[in-house]
């Protein structure tokens, strides 16, 4: 009971925050724990892009950007703490990079009126803008990913995969379970046989799952893993000599730290992606010049051009573009969270704009609308070249099965709206 006085004093100190004209982007990062291999490059890229904008252009529309980093360790309790600690700082946008934390934040941001952008993760049905006013998951979601993987397999098999055996190896959490529903629908549509193999978090122990794969001999293995689980799975696949070109990971399971430990054995492993690979883009020259060479990098500056770093740069770029859009719509430079949301909803990413930003062909072009917060869901495929030690894009950003996904999204969003008494927004 005596402890409460101390907490009281602490709370009073926490409440006093600075109030300057700046654009605040909290970064709920995880540089520790079993998922740090993906968390570190992402946190670095997110911070470095904004630092570059501050150094090169003096912020966005003349207002400097402030990134508040808060360590979550991919843990939902710490995620809640981070959200509560940062939400009154004038935060414009949350990107937690964790599906579990996303589920926690969806009701909270809706009540507090702060947009949430879960790029390629989170709750897939948040794409349904009529129900999820404050949540965005453009440019692609897990169901696009699932469909993109199946489309790739269809391509390899000239459009006929009836009777093929496809196994989904997944992180046994909300994240890993997301694609199941879509894959079940697609298996009905295309006639392939789907089997499910969950791996408990964090996923260092996968011997029994790979034993089963060895016994079942599936034609393809789809893979929804993250953090330390990725390296283990790819190593195990190499150990049982599973044909790597038939092993397809989601975008969170295809980065350098995942494949490097398996060495040559990982050659040919595929992963879906919605961002380009490598550092051959003008934007990286600017990041190098203004951030890394100037000693202002968030990390030690060696992650530039790696898969998750690039993805974070892309996420930061989309956020910055939404700010520009919001500034244009509302005619104020120092926007608030509600204006930021309007900017995100009106966001248009064109080829020309990407070229201006020095990121031509870096990601798909898309438009966001009131009904569709998910974008068109264009998905590409990348493949690991173990000899050259780089990821190569082997397929363009292609459309996915919108018919199946759209119906599922609407169904799930409606169920959520019913459960939480949300009235549909009028989008006309």
């Amino acid at each position: 009971m005596k402890m409460k006085l101390a907490t009281l004093a602490l709370g009073a100190l926490m409440a006093a925050g600075p109030a300057m004209a700046d654009l605040v982007f909290p970064s709920l990062s995880y540089r520790t724990g079993p998922f740090a291999a993906g968390g570190i490059p992402f946190a670095d890229g997110y911070a470095d892009y904004f630092t570059m904008l501050n150094e090169r252009d003096g912020g966005i529309g003349g207002v400097p950007v402030r990134v508040i980093e808060c360590e979550t360790g991919y843990n939902t309790e710490k995620g809640v703490e981070c959200y509560e600690a940062t939400k009154n700082e004038g935060s414009l946008l949350y990107q937690p990079l964790s599906t579990g934390i996303t589920y926690q934040l969806i009701p909270k941001v809706t009540a507090d009126g702060i947009p949430l952008h879960t790029m390629g993760y989170g709750r897939t049905s948040a794409a349904y803008g009529k129900v999820f006013k404050w949540v965005f998951n453009y440019p692609a979601n897990y169901w696009n990913g699932a469909s993109g993987a199946i489309n790739h397999i269809l391509e390899l098999n000239d459009g006929d995969i009836a009777g093929k055996k496809i196994t989904l190896l997944y992180h046994n959490s909300a994240y890993g379970k997301e694609p199941i529903r879509t894959l079940e629908e697609l298996s009905k549509k295309h006639g392939f046989e789907l089997s499910l193999l969950p791996v408990d978090s964090p996923g260092q122990e996968q011997k029994s799952q790979w034993l089963q794969i060895r016994r079942d001999r599936p034609d393809y293995v789809l893979f929804w893993g993250w953090g330390v689980m990725n390296q283990v799975a790819i190593q195990e696949a190499a150990n049982i000599r599973f044909p790597m070109e038939n092993f397809i990971g989601i975008w969170w399971s295809g980065a350098e730290p995942d494949v490097l430990p398996a060495g040559e054995g990982a050659h040919g492993y595929k992963a879906l992606t919605f961002t380009a690979t490598g550092d051959d883009f003008p934007v990286f020259d600017d990041i190098k010049k203004y951030v890394i060479d100037a000693g202002k990098a968030a990390g030690n500056g060696d992650k530039l051009g790696t898969v998750q770093y690039n993805r974070a740069v892309y996420a930061a770029m989309l956020a910055a573009e939404a700010v520009r859009k919001a500034q244009e719509i509302h005619g104020v430079a120092d926007i608030n969270a509600a204006q930021m949301r309007d900017g995100m909803e009106a966001l248009v990413i064109t080829k020309e704009r990407m070229a201006e930003l020095g990121m031509e062909g870096f990601g798909p072009t898309f438009e966001v609308s009131c009904e569709n917060h998910g974008g068109p869901g264009l998905v590409g495929v990348s493949q690991w070249d173990a000899k050259a030690q780089k990821w190569n894009l082997i397929s363009d950003f292609k459309p996915t099965d919108g018919e199946v996904i759209g119906a599922l999204i609407e169904e799930d969003a409606m169920a959520y709206a019913k459960e939480h008494n949300i009235e549909l927004r009028d989008c006309n």
């Binding site: 009971m1 709370g11 926490m14 520790t32 309790e77 809640v80 926690q104 959490s173 379970k177």
Partner: protein, 358 residues
């Protein structure tokens, strides 16, 4: 000087056996209650509630629950996380099935369901003891998490297997969901904690508590003097699981709002609550509070101090936090193996003699 029995005359047996025989303690307790019930709700904000107070209150309930089983009845349990999950899923099913019923009823029912499950998993304790019982409860932990992952009925067939708490109220005041005011959620948890602590305190010093302690201290001797081990052990499991179920229900419905069983109620939760009980002090209600406060507040305080005030990189702070908390736990266990509660007891003894120690 002020902290002494002298001059505080007891004229009835009730007064003689009250929880706080010393006047200073008694008034301190009333003041603490008044502050907790009357002042904190006025000054509370979202950060204070969601980052510090709610987790502290909820873990304190869980720690009291485990303390009854492990500290008072001597049955080591590693199934706390699993039992909290039972409470959480029970309250979720109840909330979604009967939206019009008050949350008080739902939380109590969730505790009751957990008590039933706890008794079921407590049955092996009649045959196995010590480390072997710990392994049996560990099995309960894994089995329960597996069930909640595996059977879609528990999570109402949602696509991701997550459960999320819809908005529910008590007499028109919203207490779950994101629109719940911080003070309402806080008071709701506080009422449960106060009630649980009072019930636990009075159970443990009554005849039931004496049979638990007899079993703990030497089960064969207890049997010889007429303690029924079946009744004693199963009541300990039932009461302990009831409290843990309540804490699990509150943890899901009020604190997190959305839960994934493997992450929120995994084995690490069982260990966390066990550490709370060990650091706080086995067999002490105050120890449950102290242990919960220590393990909930310390990491947050260290984070605020390191990352927000000193501006250190967040990963260094996170690693330092592990080092410091770990070092402190080791230090406490070496210097005071009986936990924070024993430190408190020693401090009180010293206070009694002050300023003329002998």
């Amino acid at each position: 000087m002020f902290y002494r029995e002298a001059g505080d005359f007891k004229t009835s047996y009730q007064e003689d056996s009250q929880t706080f025989p010393i006047k200073f303690d008694r008034y301190g307790f009333y003041v603490a209650l008044a502050v907790a019930f009357l002042i904190i709700p006025l000054v509370i904000n979202d950060y204070l509630a969601n980052a510090l107070l709610l987790p502290f209150l909820i873990y304190a309930i869980a720690a009291i629950g485990l303390n009854i089983l492990t500290g008072y009845a001597g049955q080591v349990s590693l199934g706390t996380g699993g039992f909290m999950a039972v409470g959480a899923y029970a309250v979720y099913k109840l909330m979604t099935a009967f939206p019009e019923v008050s949350m008080f009823v739902h939380v109590l029912l969730a505790g009751g369901i957990t008590a039933a499950v706890g008794v079921l998993f407590g049955l092996p304790s009649l045959r196995i003891k010590g480390f072997y019982l710990a392994v049996a409860t560990l099995a309960a932990q894994f089995f329960l998490v597996w069930v909640f992952n595996r059977v879609p009925w528990f999570y109402n067939y949602s696509a991701s297997g997550q459960i999320s708490a819809p908005e529910r109220d008590v007499m028109g005041i919203i207490i779950t969901g994101p629109n719940a005011p911080a003070w309402a959620a806080y008071l709701f948890c506080l009422i449960f904690l106060t009630a649980c602590a009072l019930v636990a305190r009075n159970l443990t010093r009554g005849s039931v508590g004496r049979t638990w302690m007899a079993i703990r201290d030497m089960d064969i001797a207890a049997e010889i003097i007429g303690v029924d081990p079946l009744k004693a052990k199963l009541t300990a499991f039932a009461v302990s699981s009831f409290f843990i179920g309540i804490s699990g229900a509150l943890f899901f419905a009020l604190y997190l709002g959305a839960v994934e069983v493997g992450e929120a109620f995994g084995i690490q939760k069982s260990f966390l609550v066990l550490f709370m009980v060990i650091i706080g002090g086995l067999g002490s209600i105050f120890g449950s509070f102290a242990g919960a406060a220590f393990l909930v507040l310390l990491p947050v305080v260290l984070k605020v101090f390191g990352a927000d005030w000193l501006g250190w990189p967040t990963d260094i702070v996170a690693h330092l936090q592990l080092v410091i908390v770990g070092a402190l736990i080791t230090m406490f266990l070496i210097l005071e193996p009986h936990g924070l509660a024993q430190l408190w007891r020693v401090a009180k003894e010293k206070l009694r003699l002050w300023p003329f120690p002998y």
